[in-house]
């Protein structure tokens, strides 16, 4: 049992997050899947920081959190405005991105 276990856990969580993004259709849940992937990366970063005895990993985790927060703010605002326009929270209803 060593620190690699955390990496495996992070990989697993990342994969589940990706699955959430791929399979769920509720925009909010999809968004949470993205957050889950980010968090999985954070866990790996924290573990790496501990492995290498350097604080860089932790700093990056903080930065990722800030960026994620910014993303959440804008993303949720977009969800709100899409919902207002279409009365739907399904990602499949926002499918104008095609020819």
């Amino acid at each position: 049992m060593n620190l690699t276990a955390y990496i495996y856990l992070a990989t697993l969580l990342f994969a589940i997050g990706a699955l959430v993004v791929l399979l769920r259709r509720n925009t909010i849940i999809v968004f949470m899947g993205v957050e889950l992937m980010l968090n999985a990366c954070n866990l790996a970063l924290i573990t790496f920081a501990r492995m290498h005895g350097s604080l860089d990993g932790q700093v990056y985790v903080l930065f990722v959190m800030v960026v994620a927060a910014a993303e959440v703010v804008v993303g949720l605002a977009i969800i709100m405005s899409i919902y207002r326009a279409r009365r739907s929270a399904s990602v499949d209803d926002a499918n104008l991105l095609k020819l």
């Binding site: 849940i29 957050e35 739907s88």
Partner: protein
């Protein structure tokens, strides 16, 4: 990894995975959000266990506290009323999703397994003067420019959100007088919509009023409750509500998928 930490990992790790799976399988957005919060708290504890106390606390406070609350808030205004059919609309999406994710997980884990990690150094040296102090030194000296840039990113994000959420009112808000005149002109609800709970044993907003013939009037309860199917069934002429849902007659006003429990 000490014995205590191993124990923590083996308890908390599966919990996190379960939470993540909850996110994947939950039928209601609220449940998904709660599962997500669980994962985040678990991760925060992991951070603390890995000597990243400051980041861990931030994770729990900011992420599970603030960000997830923001999610819940949006679910409150958006998610409940929306209805999403559980039937997959894009052909092959589900199968391909699973295949690719399993492939990805396999490849990634295989990759991790092949890597020979060095002997962990530990953070004792790097954090000799304390977690927060050491991290502060990093952020405010070496990474100060990135930090400033992130600050401006946040400000811009907030402004963007405000622009997106702002709705310009194009016509003046209809006053009660205008609405009343309108109802009279259209000859609908001239006396106003019925209040909930009238002619009933309850006096709550989720209890529909009964029409003179004894049928429940859906217009008397908030639309959201009707859509969610969360109105209280009232007995119809003495018939047991469990047998025939009292709002079956109102089904034509709302699609069947909006019924209770259909929330994806």
């Amino acid at each position: 990894m000490s014995g205590g930490e191993a124990l923590l990992f083996w308890v908390l790790g599966p919990t996190c995975v379960l939470g993540a799976l909850g996110l994947l399988f939950a039928r209601k957005a609220v449940h998904a959000a709660m599962a997500m919060a669980l994962v985040m708290v678990g991760l925060g504890i992991f951070y603390i266990a890995q000597y990243a106390e400051f980041v861990g606390i931030i994770q729990i406070f900011v992420y599970s506290g603030a960000v997830m609350m923001l999610f819940l808030f949006v679910i409150m205004t958006v998610g409940t009323e929306s209805s999403i059919s559980p039937i997959e609309t894009i052909s092959g999406q589900r199968a391909w999703g699973w295949i690719l994710v399993l492939l990805f997980g396999g490849v990634a884990m295989y990759g991790v397994a092949r890597v020979t990690f060095p002997e962990p150094v530990g953070l004792g040296g790097a954090q000799a003067e304390g977690t927060v102090t050491a991290l502060a030194r990093e952020i405010f000296s070496r990474q100060v420019i990135s930090f400033e840039v992130l600050g401006s990113l946040l400000v811009i994000a907030v402004m963007g959100a405000m622009v997106l959420a702002h709705r310009e009112r194009l016509v003046p808000r209809a006053t009660q007088r205008v609405l009343a005149a309108d109802r009279v002109r259209r000859n609908t609800f001239v006396a106003g919509k019925p209040a909930p709970g009238v002619y009933a044993r309850h006096n709550a907003s989720d209890v529909p009023a009964l029409l003179p013939d004894g049928t429940p009037a859906d217009v008397s309860v908030p639309r959201t409750l009707v859509a969610r199917g969360q109105t209280v069934p009232v007995p119809y002429r003495g018939v047991d509500p469990a047998g025939t849902p009292p709002d079956a007659e109102a089904a034509d006003t709302a699609p069947p998928s909006t019924r209770r429990g259909d929330q994806a």
